[in-house]
Protein backbone atom coordinates (compact mmCIF):
# COMPACT_ATOMS: atom_id res chain seq x y z
CA UNK A 1 0.00 0.00 0.00
CA UNK A 2 1.18 3.44 -0.79
CA UNK A 3 1.50 5.03 2.62
CA UNK A 4 1.06 8.46 1.13
CA UNK A 5 -2.53 7.63 0.34
CA UNK A 6 -4.67 7.41 3.48
CA UNK A 7 -8.25 6.17 3.58
CA UNK A 8 -10.44 9.11 2.63
CA UNK A 9 -13.61 9.51 4.65
CA UNK A 10 -16.29 11.99 3.64
CA UNK A 11 -19.04 12.82 6.11
CA UNK A 12 -22.09 14.50 4.63
CA UNK A 13 -24.40 16.19 7.07
CA UNK A 14 -27.98 16.70 5.91
CA UNK A 15 -29.15 18.36 9.09
CA UNK A 16 -30.30 21.96 8.95
CA UNK A 17 -29.43 22.24 12.63
CA UNK A 18 -25.77 22.80 13.55
CA UNK A 19 -24.21 20.56 16.19
CA UNK A 20 -27.43 18.71 16.93
CA UNK A 21 -27.79 15.04 17.71
CA UNK A 22 -27.09 13.72 14.24
CA UNK A 23 -24.11 15.96 13.51
CA UNK A 24 -22.66 15.09 16.92
CA UNK A 25 -23.01 11.40 16.08
CA UNK A 26 -21.34 12.01 12.71
CA UNK A 27 -18.53 13.89 14.48
CA UNK A 28 -17.95 10.93 16.81
CA UNK A 29 -17.72 8.63 13.78
CA UNK A 30 -15.33 10.97 11.98
CA UNK A 31 -13.18 11.37 15.10
CA UNK A 32 -12.83 7.61 15.30
CA UNK A 33 -11.99 7.43 11.60
CA UNK A 34 -9.35 10.11 12.04
CA UNK A 35 -7.80 8.33 15.02
CA UNK A 36 -7.36 5.28 12.83
CA UNK A 37 -5.47 7.35 10.25
CA UNK A 38 -8.32 8.32 7.95
CA UNK A 39 -8.25 11.55 5.99
CA UNK A 40 -11.62 12.87 7.08
CA UNK A 41 -13.74 15.78 6.03
CA UNK A 42 -17.25 16.93 6.82
CA UNK A 43 -19.53 18.67 4.37
CA UNK A 44 -22.74 20.44 5.33
CA UNK A 45 -25.52 20.29 2.77
CA UNK A 46 -27.31 23.27 4.24
CA UNK A 47 -25.89 26.39 2.72
CA UNK A 48 -24.54 24.70 -0.42
CA UNK A 49 -27.37 26.40 -2.29
CA UNK A 50 -28.14 23.34 -4.36
CA UNK A 51 -31.39 22.89 -6.25
CA UNK A 52 -33.59 19.81 -6.02
CA UNK A 53 -33.82 17.41 -8.99
CA UNK A 54 -36.25 18.80 -11.57
CA UNK A 55 -37.27 15.39 -12.83
CA UNK A 56 -36.57 16.54 -16.39
CA UNK A 57 -35.00 13.18 -17.28
CA UNK A 58 -32.47 14.93 -19.55
CA UNK A 59 -29.77 12.82 -17.87
CA UNK A 60 -31.45 9.66 -19.14
CA UNK A 61 -30.25 10.70 -22.60
CA UNK A 62 -27.04 12.59 -21.83
CA UNK A 63 -25.82 11.15 -18.54
CA UNK A 64 -25.30 14.70 -17.30
CA UNK A 65 -27.31 16.93 -14.99
CA UNK A 66 -28.66 20.20 -16.39
CA UNK A 67 -28.26 21.83 -12.98
CA UNK A 68 -24.73 23.07 -12.52
CA UNK A 69 -24.27 23.86 -8.86
CA UNK A 70 -22.17 22.80 -5.89
CA UNK A 71 -23.53 19.26 -5.91
CA UNK A 72 -21.70 18.17 -9.06
CA UNK A 73 -18.20 18.69 -7.60
CA UNK A 74 -19.47 17.02 -4.42
CA UNK A 75 -20.58 13.93 -6.34
CA UNK A 76 -17.16 13.87 -8.05
CA UNK A 77 -15.53 13.82 -4.65
CA UNK A 78 -17.77 11.08 -3.33
CA UNK A 79 -16.87 8.92 -6.30
CA UNK A 80 -13.18 9.04 -5.34
CA UNK A 81 -13.65 8.71 -1.57
CA UNK A 82 -13.09 5.39 0.20
CA UNK A 83 -15.74 5.78 2.89
CA UNK A 84 -18.83 7.98 2.88
CA UNK A 85 -21.10 8.63 5.81
CA UNK A 86 -24.49 10.16 5.07
CA UNK A 87 -25.94 11.73 8.19
CA UNK A 88 -29.54 12.91 8.45
CA UNK A 89 -31.92 13.14 11.34
CA UNK A 90 -35.41 11.72 10.87
CA UNK A 91 -38.00 14.40 10.30
CA UNK A 92 -41.60 13.26 9.79
CA UNK A 93 -40.56 9.62 9.35
CA UNK A 94 -37.99 10.34 6.67
CA UNK A 95 -34.62 11.93 5.94
CA UNK A 96 -34.53 15.73 5.82
CA UNK A 97 -35.45 17.75 2.74
CA UNK A 98 -31.78 18.73 2.38
CA UNK A 99 -30.63 15.12 2.33
CA UNK A 100 -33.47 14.02 0.05
CA UNK A 101 -32.63 16.84 -2.35
CA UNK A 102 -29.02 15.68 -2.41
CA UNK A 103 -29.85 11.99 -2.92
CA UNK A 104 -32.31 12.78 -5.73
CA UNK A 105 -29.64 14.67 -7.64
CA UNK A 106 -27.66 11.43 -8.03
CA UNK A 107 -30.17 10.57 -10.77
CA UNK A 108 -27.61 11.36 -13.52
CA UNK A 109 -25.29 8.70 -12.08
CA UNK A 110 -28.23 6.30 -11.87
CA UNK A 111 -28.91 7.02 -15.55
CA UNK A 112 -25.25 6.38 -16.41
CA UNK A 113 -25.39 3.07 -14.56
CA UNK A 114 -28.81 1.72 -15.50
CA UNK A 115 -29.89 3.42 -18.72
CA UNK A 116 -26.77 4.43 -20.62
CA UNK A 117 -24.61 1.63 -19.10
CA UNK A 118 -21.55 3.87 -19.15
CA UNK A 119 -20.95 3.48 -15.42
CA UNK A 120 -19.88 0.18 -13.97
CA UNK A 121 -18.37 -0.82 -10.66
CA UNK A 122 -16.50 -4.10 -10.21
CA UNK A 123 -17.37 -6.28 -7.23
CA UNK A 124 -13.92 -5.54 -5.89
CA UNK A 125 -14.54 -1.81 -6.17
CA UNK A 126 -17.79 -2.06 -4.23
CA UNK A 127 -16.13 -4.22 -1.56
CA UNK A 128 -13.46 -1.56 -1.01
CA UNK A 129 -15.85 1.35 -0.77
CA UNK A 130 -17.97 1.58 2.33
CA UNK A 131 -21.14 3.57 2.80
CA UNK A 132 -22.55 4.30 6.23
CA UNK A 133 -25.88 5.82 7.24
CA UNK A 134 -25.93 7.89 10.40
CA UNK A 135 -29.19 9.03 11.92
CA UNK A 136 -31.08 9.96 15.04
CA UNK A 137 -34.80 10.19 15.69
CA UNK A 138 -36.83 11.83 18.40
CA UNK A 139 -39.30 9.01 18.86
CA UNK A 140 -38.55 5.45 19.87
CA UNK A 141 -40.86 3.86 17.31
CA UNK A 142 -39.66 0.54 15.96
CA UNK A 143 -40.08 1.61 12.33
CA UNK A 144 -38.73 5.15 12.59
CA UNK A 145 -35.79 4.52 10.23
CA UNK A 146 -37.70 2.20 7.86
CA UNK A 147 -38.27 4.72 5.10
CA UNK A 148 -34.65 5.93 5.20
CA UNK A 149 -32.99 2.52 4.72
CA UNK A 150 -34.24 1.84 1.16
CA UNK A 151 -33.18 5.34 0.11
CA UNK A 152 -29.66 4.69 1.41
CA UNK A 153 -29.61 1.28 -0.28
CA UNK A 154 -30.43 2.94 -3.59
CA UNK A 155 -27.93 5.76 -3.09
CA UNK A 156 -24.96 3.57 -2.15
CA UNK A 157 -25.77 1.26 -5.07
CA UNK A 158 -25.73 4.19 -7.49
CA UNK A 159 -22.43 5.46 -6.09
CA UNK A 160 -20.67 2.07 -6.11
CA UNK A 161 -20.39 1.72 -2.34
CA UNK A 162 -21.19 -1.26 -0.18
CA UNK A 163 -23.93 -0.36 2.30
CA UNK A 164 -21.64 -1.23 5.15
CA UNK A 165 -23.43 -0.21 8.33
CA UNK A 166 -25.95 1.98 10.11
CA UNK A 167 -25.08 4.16 13.07
CA UNK A 168 -28.49 5.05 14.38
CA UNK A 169 -29.99 6.11 17.68
CA UNK A 170 -33.68 6.61 18.31
CA UNK A 171 -35.64 7.92 21.28
CA UNK A 172 -33.67 11.18 21.45
CA UNK A 173 -36.62 12.95 23.10
CA UNK A 174 -36.50 10.46 25.96
CA UNK A 175 -32.70 10.49 26.27
CA UNK A 176 -32.74 14.27 26.10
CA UNK A 177 -30.06 14.34 23.44
CA UNK A 178 -27.36 12.11 22.02
CA UNK A 179 -24.85 13.04 24.72
CA UNK A 180 -27.01 11.32 27.31
CA UNK A 181 -27.35 8.16 25.26
CA UNK A 182 -25.38 5.41 27.00
CA UNK A 183 -23.64 3.88 23.98
CA UNK A 184 -24.32 5.76 20.73
CA UNK A 185 -21.29 8.08 20.63
CA UNK A 186 -18.73 5.51 21.71
CA UNK A 187 -20.14 3.01 19.21
CA UNK A 188 -19.94 5.60 16.44
CA UNK A 189 -16.28 6.25 17.27
CA UNK A 190 -15.53 2.53 17.34
CA UNK A 191 -17.25 2.03 13.99
CA UNK A 192 -15.25 4.93 12.54
CA UNK A 193 -11.98 3.35 13.66
CA UNK A 194 -12.97 -0.09 12.46
CA UNK A 195 -14.08 0.92 8.97
CA UNK A 196 -10.86 2.82 8.29
CA UNK A 197 -8.76 -0.13 9.45
CA UNK A 198 -10.81 -2.48 7.29
CA UNK A 199 -10.61 -0.32 4.17
CA UNK A 200 -6.87 0.23 4.71
CA UNK A 201 -6.44 -3.53 4.85
CA UNK A 202 -8.47 -3.99 1.67
CA UNK A 203 -6.41 -1.34 -0.09
CA UNK A 204 -3.24 -3.04 1.07
CA UNK A 205 -4.47 -6.21 -0.59
CA UNK A 206 -3.15 -4.74 -3.85
CA UNK A 207 -4.88 -3.84 -7.05
CA UNK A 208 -7.75 -5.86 -8.38
CA UNK A 209 -6.84 -8.80 -10.64
CA UNK A 210 -5.93 -7.87 -14.23
CA UNK A 211 -8.91 -7.10 -16.43
CA UNK A 212 -10.98 -6.01 -13.49
CA UNK A 213 -9.43 -2.62 -13.03
CA UNK A 214 -10.94 -0.50 -10.35
CA UNK A 215 -12.20 2.76 -11.78
CA UNK A 216 -10.79 5.54 -9.71
CA UNK A 217 -10.30 8.26 -12.23
CA UNK A 218 -8.73 11.43 -10.97
CA UNK A 219 -7.68 10.02 -7.63
CA UNK A 220 -3.95 10.58 -7.91
CA UNK A 221 -2.92 14.16 -7.49
CA UNK A 222 -6.51 15.31 -7.11
CA UNK A 223 -6.53 18.32 -4.85
CA UNK A 224 -9.64 18.57 -2.84
CA UNK A 225 -10.92 22.10 -2.64
CA UNK A 226 -12.63 23.73 0.28
CA UNK A 227 -11.76 24.28 3.91
CA UNK A 228 -12.32 21.60 6.43
CA UNK A 229 -15.58 22.35 8.14
CA UNK A 230 -14.83 20.91 11.53
Amino acid sequence: MNRMEPVTVLGISGSPHRHGNTETLLDAFLDGAKEAGGDVEKILLKGLGSAPCQGCNACHKTGACVLEDALLPLFDRILVADVIALASPIYTMGITAEMKGFVDRSQYLWAQKYILKTRYYTREHIRRHKGIFISTAGTGWENVFSSAFPIMTAFFDIMGFEYHDNIIAKDMDRWKGIRNHPTALSEAGEKGRRVVVEVARLKEGGEAPPGKGVQKEGKKGARRPGKKER
Partner: protein, 175 residues
Protein backbone atom coordinates in the same frame (compact mmCIF):
# COMPACT_ATOMS: atom_id res chain seq x y z
CA UNK B 1 -63.82 16.66 -8.62
CA UNK B 2 -63.73 20.18 -10.05
CA UNK B 3 -66.95 19.72 -11.99
CA UNK B 4 -68.96 18.75 -8.93
CA UNK B 5 -71.33 21.40 -7.57
CA UNK B 6 -70.28 22.91 -4.26
CA UNK B 7 -66.62 21.91 -4.64
CA UNK B 8 -64.00 24.63 -4.96
CA UNK B 9 -60.53 23.53 -6.00
CA UNK B 10 -57.24 25.26 -5.65
CA UNK B 11 -53.88 23.87 -6.77
CA UNK B 12 -50.52 25.07 -5.51
CA UNK B 13 -47.35 23.99 -7.29
CA UNK B 14 -44.52 23.80 -4.77
CA UNK B 15 -41.93 24.70 -7.38
CA UNK B 16 -43.69 28.05 -7.89
CA UNK B 17 -43.81 29.01 -4.23
CA UNK B 18 -41.12 29.17 -1.59
CA UNK B 19 -41.27 26.68 1.25
CA UNK B 20 -37.87 26.47 2.90
CA UNK B 21 -36.94 23.25 4.70
CA UNK B 22 -37.60 22.97 8.44
CA UNK B 23 -34.59 24.18 10.44
CA UNK B 24 -35.12 21.72 13.25
CA UNK B 25 -34.91 24.55 15.77
CA UNK B 26 -37.95 23.31 17.73
CA UNK B 27 -39.00 26.92 18.39
CA UNK B 28 -42.55 26.02 17.32
CA UNK B 29 -42.79 23.85 20.43
CA UNK B 30 -42.84 27.10 22.38
CA UNK B 31 -43.98 29.76 19.92
CA UNK B 32 -46.81 27.76 18.29
CA UNK B 33 -45.61 29.13 14.97
CA UNK B 34 -42.66 28.81 12.67
CA UNK B 35 -39.78 31.29 12.88
CA UNK B 36 -39.41 31.27 9.09
CA UNK B 37 -41.47 33.72 7.00
CA UNK B 38 -42.20 32.38 3.53
CA UNK B 39 -45.12 31.02 1.52
CA UNK B 40 -45.76 28.41 4.19
CA UNK B 41 -47.52 31.20 6.10
CA UNK B 42 -50.25 31.16 3.46
CA UNK B 43 -50.19 27.39 2.92
CA UNK B 44 -50.49 26.80 6.67
CA UNK B 45 -53.84 28.61 6.71
CA UNK B 46 -55.04 26.92 3.53
CA UNK B 47 -54.21 23.48 4.96
CA UNK B 48 -56.18 24.27 8.12
CA UNK B 49 -59.17 25.69 6.23
CA UNK B 50 -59.51 23.02 3.54
CA UNK B 51 -61.96 20.15 3.94
CA UNK B 52 -59.79 18.04 1.68
CA UNK B 53 -56.02 18.23 1.37
CA UNK B 54 -54.52 16.55 -1.69
CA UNK B 55 -50.78 15.99 -1.57
CA UNK B 56 -49.15 15.06 -4.87
CA UNK B 57 -45.50 14.10 -5.19
CA UNK B 58 -43.60 11.75 -7.45
CA UNK B 59 -41.40 9.10 -5.91
CA UNK B 60 -37.74 9.94 -6.41
CA UNK B 61 -35.23 7.47 -5.00
CA UNK B 62 -37.89 5.66 -2.95
CA UNK B 63 -39.25 8.74 -1.21
CA UNK B 64 -41.22 11.88 -1.93
CA UNK B 65 -39.34 14.65 -3.72
CA UNK B 66 -37.32 17.22 -1.77
CA UNK B 67 -39.86 20.03 -2.29
CA UNK B 68 -42.63 17.81 -0.91
CA UNK B 69 -40.46 16.72 2.01
CA UNK B 70 -39.79 20.36 2.89
CA UNK B 71 -43.53 21.03 3.15
CA UNK B 72 -44.14 17.86 5.16
CA UNK B 73 -41.34 18.77 7.56
CA UNK B 74 -42.69 22.30 7.98
CA UNK B 75 -45.89 20.68 9.26
CA UNK B 76 -43.86 20.29 12.45
CA UNK B 77 -45.69 23.38 13.66
CA UNK B 78 -48.95 21.36 13.61
CA UNK B 79 -47.27 18.53 15.49
CA UNK B 80 -46.00 20.93 18.14
CA UNK B 81 -49.44 22.48 18.42
CA UNK B 82 -51.17 19.11 18.74
CA UNK B 83 -48.78 17.04 20.85
CA UNK B 84 -46.57 19.48 22.73
CA UNK B 85 -48.79 22.49 23.34
CA UNK B 86 -52.00 20.41 23.31
CA UNK B 87 -53.85 23.05 21.33
CA UNK B 88 -56.41 22.41 18.61
CA UNK B 89 -55.11 22.27 15.02
CA UNK B 90 -58.64 22.63 13.65
CA UNK B 91 -61.81 23.49 15.59
CA UNK B 92 -63.09 20.36 17.36
CA UNK B 93 -66.28 20.21 15.27
CA UNK B 94 -64.19 19.72 12.11
CA UNK B 95 -62.24 16.72 13.41
CA UNK B 96 -63.35 13.64 11.47
CA UNK B 97 -64.61 15.85 8.64
CA UNK B 98 -61.31 16.25 6.86
CA UNK B 99 -60.20 14.12 3.97
CA UNK B 100 -56.65 13.54 2.72
CA UNK B 101 -55.56 12.20 -0.66
CA UNK B 102 -52.02 11.18 -1.54
CA UNK B 103 -51.31 11.10 -5.26
CA UNK B 104 -48.03 9.71 -6.50
CA UNK B 105 -46.33 8.02 -9.39
CA UNK B 106 -43.12 6.04 -9.51
CA UNK B 107 -40.88 4.87 -12.32
CA UNK B 108 -40.23 1.48 -10.78
CA UNK B 109 -42.80 -1.30 -10.52
CA UNK B 110 -41.62 -2.54 -7.14
CA UNK B 111 -44.22 -3.41 -4.50
CA UNK B 112 -42.44 -1.33 -1.89
CA UNK B 113 -41.88 1.74 -4.02
CA UNK B 114 -44.45 3.92 -2.19
CA UNK B 115 -43.82 2.60 1.36
CA UNK B 116 -41.38 5.30 2.48
CA UNK B 117 -43.49 8.07 0.96
CA UNK B 118 -46.62 6.82 2.71
CA UNK B 119 -44.92 6.92 6.11
CA UNK B 120 -44.06 10.61 5.82
CA UNK B 121 -47.39 11.56 4.24
CA UNK B 122 -49.27 9.64 6.93
CA UNK B 123 -47.56 11.79 9.57
CA UNK B 124 -48.38 14.94 7.63
CA UNK B 125 -52.07 14.04 7.57
CA UNK B 126 -52.16 12.94 11.22
CA UNK B 127 -50.72 16.21 12.51
CA UNK B 128 -53.18 18.15 10.36
CA UNK B 129 -56.11 16.21 11.91
CA UNK B 130 -56.83 13.92 8.99
CA UNK B 131 -57.42 10.42 10.25
CA UNK B 132 -55.92 7.25 8.76
CA UNK B 133 -59.32 6.01 7.63
CA UNK B 134 -59.89 9.32 5.85
CA UNK B 135 -56.84 9.10 3.60
CA UNK B 136 -57.32 7.98 0.00
CA UNK B 137 -54.37 6.87 -2.12
CA UNK B 138 -53.93 7.22 -5.87
CA UNK B 139 -50.63 5.53 -6.66
CA UNK B 140 -49.38 4.65 -10.12
CA UNK B 141 -46.31 2.45 -10.57
CA UNK B 142 -44.10 1.94 -13.59
CA UNK B 143 -44.42 5.36 -15.22
CA UNK B 144 -40.94 6.69 -15.84
CA UNK B 145 -41.06 8.66 -19.09
CA UNK B 146 -42.66 12.07 -19.49
CA UNK B 147 -46.36 11.74 -20.24
CA UNK B 148 -46.34 7.97 -19.68
CA UNK B 149 -49.16 8.24 -17.16
CA UNK B 150 -51.44 9.36 -20.03
CA UNK B 151 -51.06 6.02 -21.77
CA UNK B 152 -51.14 3.95 -18.58
CA UNK B 153 -53.93 1.37 -18.93
CA UNK B 154 -55.76 2.18 -15.71
CA UNK B 155 -54.34 5.42 -14.27
CA UNK B 156 -56.97 7.76 -15.73
CA UNK B 157 -59.88 5.58 -14.63
CA UNK B 158 -58.36 5.20 -11.15
CA UNK B 159 -57.88 8.96 -10.87
CA UNK B 160 -61.50 9.62 -11.84
CA UNK B 161 -62.72 6.94 -9.44
CA UNK B 162 -60.65 8.47 -6.63
CA UNK B 163 -62.13 11.89 -7.42
CA UNK B 164 -65.67 10.49 -7.29
CA UNK B 165 -64.97 8.64 -4.07
CA UNK B 166 -63.50 11.78 -2.50
CA UNK B 167 -66.61 13.82 -3.36
CA UNK B 168 -68.83 11.07 -1.99
CA UNK B 169 -66.84 10.87 1.25
CA UNK B 170 -66.84 14.65 1.65
CA UNK B 171 -70.59 14.81 1.13
CA UNK B 172 -71.06 12.08 3.80
CA UNK B 173 -68.84 13.97 6.23
CA UNK B 174 -70.65 17.24 5.73
CA UNK B 175 -74.19 15.89 5.56
Amino acid sequence: MAKEPGIAIEKVALDEVTVEPCRGCNACEVLNKCVQRDDMDVLHDKIVEADCVIFASPVYCLGICAEGKALVDRAQVFRSRKYVLKLPVVPPERIGKRLGIFISSAGQNWDIVFDGAKMSIGCFFHVTEIKNKDILYLLVRGVDKAGEVETHPTARAEAQATGRKAVERLREMHR
